[in-house]
């Protein structure tokens, strides 16, 4: 089972974990992205995330289905936040349950790695002296 969400509201890590837990599961792996206070040594004030909402959900579903094809996973949740986030806030939560931990770890890692490559969400970093769309330019 797959649970996807792209929302401006703060993400609820506990509810993602509760949702993936099943009596058949022996292990859950959870990845939580957090806004770092610096990038390449430069202080970050805040981030802004923008999503192409409908396509983002569609690409997230593809990733979740691929992960469930590749590994024996029970449930997989991907929640991504949009809007303005301060340092320490959580842009993304991925939770994966499986009978055995190897599948949970590998599917979770695959999901975040692929999400960062294919899901149409964009991050802008705000510094003291300006702002930049991450990865936009070589």
């Amino acid at each position: 089972m797959i649970d996807l969400n792209v929302t401006e509201e703060p993400l609820d890590i506990s509810s993602c974990i509760d949702w993936v837990m099943t009596p058949e599961s022996g292990g859950i792996d959870v990845f939580i992205g957090t806004v770092r206070n610096a990038t390449k040594g430069k202080q970050v004030l805040r981030l802004e995330f923008e999503a192409y909402q409908q396509m983002a959900l569609s690409e997230m579903r593809k990733i979740a289905e691929q992960a469930m094809d590749k590994w024996p996973v029970h449930k997989l949740a991907i929640h991504h936040r949009t809007g303005t986030l301060q340092v320490g806030e959580v842009p993304v939560v991925i939770a994966v349950s499986a009978a055995h931990r190897a599948a949970a770890f590998e599917a979770c890692r695959y999901t975040i790695d692929t999400l960062k490559q294919t899901v149409p969400i964009w991050k802008k970093e705000f510094f003291e002296d300006g702002e930049v769309w991450v990865a936009a330019h070589p």
Partner: protein, 80 residues
């Protein structure tokens, strides 16, 4: 024909809005659209890359555009 093109992230800044009406030939494909876009908005060329999505899917260069497709410029993604 005129195609409405959505623009996100840095593409929105370059296009100067969240969408633009782009004139392309009938039977134009995605590569044709990209050519028109780059001619009209040269700063798109400076991006690491940019993709086009049609109806919420990444499109191939040879995909033919239809009048009512939902078309979007997808600059390099950076979610997560």
């Amino acid at each position: 024909m005129k195609v409405k093109v959505l623009a996100f992230g840095i593409a929105r800044d370059i296009v100067g809005g969240s969408s633009a009406e782009i004139e392309v030939t009938d039977e134009a494909n995605v590569d044709d659209l990209k050519e028109v876009l780059v001619a009209q908005y040269p700063r798109l060329k400076q991006l690491t890359s940019f993709m086009v999505a049609v109806n919420n899917e990444y499109a191939h260069g040879e995909d033919i555009l239809q009048q009512h497709d939902e078309v979007a410029i997808i600059p390099p993604v950076s979610g997560g």
